[in-house]
């Protein structure tokens, strides 16, 4: 980990001002940020971390006018165990409950979950041994020429075939959720279009404050990973109402029309994802509640 400047932001405005200075990043639960820093995974890591945990009023779950409203600092565990979330958008509670391990869910926040870095095995390699396209490095995409077992089966975005690793992201897109930030309110589908290293389109000085999820639709979330105890989704499927969105198969949550998908860029390593995706679609649809 680099010698870091650590700032406790007094307010959202203060946090935004700190970010605007450059080289800074928000720290919520720190579960993703700290491991990135400790692993020296990129040349673009922040030198200032802006702690927002002590800013009040950013951790809540409430229902308001047919909308489930969740503060960005709400932990994944709180969402997984919320009876309000379970009754208003079961898929979101199901997704939060299968993120990582109990320890990480206790600390990790929903805001952090939708703003994390990709989990590509090359991207995450410690000491930045693979300075790839996603990091702005010269190495191109190592997965493309190497091991694509965990990667996109629907092509590349900006020369990168990493997938969106967030369990909550497909649910938010399927539910037509809105992501409120210090700058604007995003449609979830737009929010998760990648711009830089992270898995979304946020500006460097933009902070997520609230997630708004329309309620009243039946839903279900299914996740597939090699290891059940804690793992990122290799493929996941969210069904909310009549919308079906896959996770783990593309740079962003991937919307499905019809009952099945056909991979457009599968490799010998990741062809299996198509079979899994179609199985999950079938099973999630059968289990909506």
């Amino acid at each position: 980990m680099d010698n870091l400047v650590h700032v406790n932001a007094g307010s959202l405005d203060d946090a935004v001002a700190q970010l605007a200075k450059g080289g800074a990043e928000v720290c919520a639960g720190g579960t993703d940020l700290m491991s990135s820093l400790k692993g020296f995974i990129s040349d673009n890591l922040p030198t200032t971390i802006v702690n927002i945990k002590q800013i009040s009023g950013l951790s809540y779950i409430k229902e308001d006018g047919g909308m489930l409203k969740i503060g960005a600092l709400t932990t994944l565990d709180e969402i997984a165990n919320s009876s309000v979330v379970a009754s208003k958008c079961a898929a979101l509670a199901q997704a939060a409950a299968v993120v990582a391990s109990p320890e990480i869910r206790n600390v990790g926040t929903i805001g952090g979950n939708i703003c994390q870095r990709p989990r590509c095995i090359y991207y995450r390699n410690e000491y930045n041994d693979f300075n790839c396209a996603r990091k702005g490095g010269k190495g191109g995409c190592y997965a493309l020429t190497g091991l694509s077992r965990y990667h996109s089966i629907f092509g590349l975005v900006n020369g990168c075939m990493a997938v969106c690793p967030s369990d909550t992201a497909p649910v938010l897109v399927a539910a037509g959720a809105k992501i409120v930030t210090t700058k604007k309110t995003w449609e979830a589908a737009d929010f998760f279009k990648i711009k830089g290293e992270k898995i979304n389109s946020l500006d460097a000085d933009e902070i997520v404050t609230e997630i708004q999820v329309p309620t009243g639709k039946k839903s279900c979330y299914k996740k597939f990973a090699f290891r059940k105890s804690f793992d990122f989704p290799l493929v996941s499927c969210a069904v909310v109402g009549d919308k079906v969105v896959l996770g783990g198969v593309y740079n962003s949550p991937y919307e499905v029309s019809g009952d099945t998908v056909k991979a457009t860029s599968a490799t010998a390593y990741n062809k299996y994802k198509e079979q899994i995706a179609n199985t999950l679609i079938k099973r999630a649809k059968a289990d909506v509640k």
Binding site: I121, N125, F130, R149, F224, R227, S229, F230, K271, Y272
Partner: protein
């Protein structure tokens, strides 16, 4: 040495066993166990590793100027600084890079993170050479060597060596005479780093010309010798310590880091230096299980008895020797083995938990299950026709086995699991939940439990209050000291609770009796402690006959015996004195012993061979060591996702005489649960382009957690036998359960009707789907 009439204290005394175990556990669970990483000293410096980012080449130039400019960085050491001129090939940092991740420099700084930060500031220039990064670069799937493959640089002129071919009988004639023969092209098995728990660490400082080294190893005495050889100083100037060791698994043995950190500390004026591996470096630098491939031709007579087996074998280990699973489990009159060590530009492989068993077990199981099908038998029936019995002699040497429990182990798991009523033809049973049901069987004789203890030594001390201390060369966990304590208690006639561990993991006060290799410890070091306890007992009784009440009786040493820490006259049991009474006036007493060796090619000097008569063979007759294991696994396979769910896993192990029941169950439990990992989860992940291991984080390498393995599906059956060369009839059980990798794969085969190709990794769902033709 004939063994005395035995009544094993440990077996009788569950409460004492639990107490011993909880003594061990408490220190670990409360964080009081002291690992090398916990060492702190005023003025200490921290060291980390700069690793190579090429797979093959030579280091041309190391430019450390930017790193040295970072505040807190004290020094950067390369091969030229540490090794050049010492006569050693490489004392850690390498000049010739043979794999991605090899150490090329060591950075020393005021603190760990500063050293780590400096890694990417050290600039290394290489002369890059062509690399062989995949097994298919050197040998095709058909077993044919690749022509004009680049050289890995590990050997001067070849990428693979024929190592230790073996043959008995006449294989060509045997195959010709067989009623049915078939050739099996068997897939590459799993490779992975198998001891990722405690990161590699070494800590050294000098006082005058004495060096003190703490290291995370199983083998401090071996390391002391390496340090002596590298630094050219006498052994009595080298003091090596290791108290706790987080998982050894046969690969924390003879590495260079201790010598390196001692050399660096000396260069820095003797200041304490802590060299520590990051997670990634630990993953790259630690030895890993080799992956193996075989092409077997098996021939059987008309009844399904094996007549001949011709094995050609490739392994990424560098010693492709035949294993007892092939040579000593089944009756195979004609057997040929040609093993090829395959040399790649990949991190070093080492023995998988001491043996080659898991890969070979899988391969033999694949061939045998297929043979069984040809003969319309189930896999048990086929094995039953061929398995060796308790009294069979070694097929190569004609020697008796110290113990041979493989048939009993197989019968045990077959009965306990209900195998015969559950087995069905492969790929024919779908359950009501849509999953496919399967059950698999495996049994093998293996090389664990060996008693190669003639280089082992033990010291047992009697304290003035009549309690006893064992001085143990190994590190503390692993239960090994407790087994030693029970052996000592039994031989001395002491209460188990009167025997405690003295110092351990300390070369200054222990003999080389302590390498705590689980597989051989009870046999080899146990033999040393047995001898030491005998020595002490003789001294104690010799002194006792000069004291009352024995002096008044004119007792001789042979008139005495002891039990529960009380010495008594065998013919007059009321004439007795406690150890404490006798020791109250005695000078301190120590017993010293060395181990004995069972196997025929031993250079043993002490009590080689059988310790008791077996099947008409006399004491001292040469004997073959061994242990045995069998397992049955029951699975459900989801045909739509390829997921495998283990619903039952029955393991039995031939344990010799059980002297520490808890320890046996722990060893079996961890060994068999580990096989869930090996078979279904965990494997090295390589970049196919560079050969770099990229699964260096636990998230990616898929090491399962306790939540992935349901221990209630894991049933353990120690099969007690009598090892005729082991102390008190016991032998180490080590990890024979690791063979159950094979029964898991066999169960998947039975479920889906196809063998899954592990493809150097585990049978992850994508590989199961591939076997099913769905990916």
């Amino acid at each position: 040495m004939a063994l005395p009439e035995m009544k094993i204290v440990g077996l009788d005394n569950e409460a004492a066993q639990k107490e011993i175990r909880s003594r061990n556990m408490q220190s670990i669970l409360t964080g009081r166990a002291d690992y090398v990483n916990d060492r702190k000293m005023a003025g200490m410096l921290w060291a980390t590793t700069k690793h190579a980012t090429i797979s093959h080449g030579t280091v041309k130039k190391v430019d450390a100027s930017k790193a040295l400019a970072l505040p807190g960085v004290k020094a950067v050491f390369t091969y030229d600084d540490i090794t050049a001129g010492t006569g050693a090939a490489a004392m850690f940092p390498q000049k010739t890079v043979l794999y991605w991740g090899a150490p090329v420099a060591v950075i020393v700084a005021d603190d760990w993170y500063t050293a780590e930060r400096a890694i990417n500031l050290v600039n290394v220039e290489y002369d890059v050479l062509p690399a062989v990064v995949k097994t298919t670069d050197v040998v095709g799937d058909d077993g044919v060597a690749v022509e004009n493959a680049p050289l890995s640089g590990r050997l001067a002129d070849t990428n693979y060596a024929n190592s230790m071919p073996a043959e008995r009988g006449d294989v060509a004639a045997g195959l010709k005479a067989s009623a049915y023969t078939k050739t099996y092209n068997l897939p590459w098995t799993t490779t992975h780093q198998h001891a990722p728990i405690e990161q590699y660490t070494a800590f050294a400082y000098w006082i005058e010309d004495d060096v003190y080294v703490y290291l995370s190893t199983q083998n401090i005495h071996g390391h002391r010798t390496i340090i002596r050889n590298r630094l050219q100083i006498p052994l009595n100037k080298i003091h090596c310590f290791n108290h706790y060791c987080g998982g050894g698994h046969g690969q924390r043995l003879n590495n260079e880091e201790a010598a390196m950190v001692a050399a660096i500390s000396r260069k820095l004026g003797g200041v304490p230096v802590m060299w520590r591996c990051s997670k990634k470096h630990s993953m790259l630098l630690a030895g890993r299980q080799h992956d193996d491939k075989g092409i077997f031709t098996m021939g059987c007579d008309k009844d399904g008895k094996i007549v001949a087996l011709d094995c050609e074998y490739w392994t990424t280990n560098y010693g492709a020797t035949i294993t007892p699973i092939i040579s000593a489990t089944f009756t195979i009159p004609n057997l040929k083995w040609v093993g090829h060590g395959t040399y790649l530009n990949q991190p070093d492989r080492c023995a998988w938990r001491c043996v080659n068993d898991p890969p070979t077990a899988v391969h033999l199981t694949m061939a045998m299950d297929d043979m069984a099908e040809h003969y319309n038998m189930n896999p048990y029936e086929f094995r039953k026709k061929n398995i060796m019995g308790e009294h069979d002699l070694d097929q190569d040497t004609g020697n008796p086995f110290c113990t041979k429990e493989v048939n009993e182990c197989m019968e045990t798991v077959v009965e306990k699991s209900g195998y015969l009523s559950k087995w069905h033809k492969p790929g024919t049973k779908t359950l009501s939940n849509g999953r496919l049901h399967g059950i698999g069987l495996h049994a093998h004789h293996d090389s664990h439990g060996r008693v190669n203890g003639n280089d082992r030594g033990a010291v047992v001390l009697m304290t003035p209050d009549g309690t006893i201390l064992t001085e143990n060369g190994g590190s503390k966990p692993h239960n090994a000291p407790t087994e030693m304590n029970i052996i000592v208690a039994e031989v001395l006639g002491a209460k188990v609770t009167d025997v405690n561990c003295g110092d351990y993991g300390n070369t200054d006060v222990t003999l080389n009796g302590g390498m705590h290799g689980g597989s051989s410890f009870t046999g080899s070091c146990g033999a040393a402690f047995y001898s030491a306890a005998m020595d002490l007992k003789k001294k104690l009784f010799t002194y006792a006959i000069t004291r009352e009440p024995f002096a008044a009786e004119g007792a001789k040493v042979e008139d005495l015996d002891s039990k529960d820490s009380v010495i008594f006259m065998t013919k007059k049991p009321d004439v007795k004195a406690t150890f404490a009474n006798i020791m109250a006036t005695a000078q301190p007493m120590a017993g010293v012993g060395v181990g004995w060796h069972a196997q025929q090619n031993a250079t043993a000097t002490v009590n080689a061979g059988l310790q008791r008569e077996k099947d008409g063979f006399p004491v001292g007759h040469k004997a073959e060591w061994g242990s045995a294991a069998a397992s049955v696994t029951e699975v459900e396979v989801d045909p739509e996702t390829g997921e495998v769910f283990i619903t039952g896993h029955w393991n039995s192990v031939g344990c010799g005489r059980v002297i520490y029941k808890d320890g046996v169950l722990q060893q079996m439990g961890s060994g068999s649960e580990l096989q869930y990992a090996q078979a279904l989860y965990y494997g090295d992940i390589h970049d196919p382009a560079t050969g770099a291991i990229i699964g260096t984080q636990y998230t990616e390498s898929q090491l399962p957690t306790t939540l992935d393995i349901d221990p209630t599906t894991n049933y353990l059956y120690p099969v007690e036998g009598d090892d005729h060369s082991g102390p008190l009839g016991a032998h180490g059980i080590g990890e024979p359960c690791v063979g159950s990798y094979a029964s898991i794969l066999a169960a998947i085969y039975n479920a889906i009707g196809k063998w899954v190709d592990p493809d150097h990794g585990a049978c992850n769902p994508d590989r199961v789907l591939k076997a099913l033709g769905k990916a």
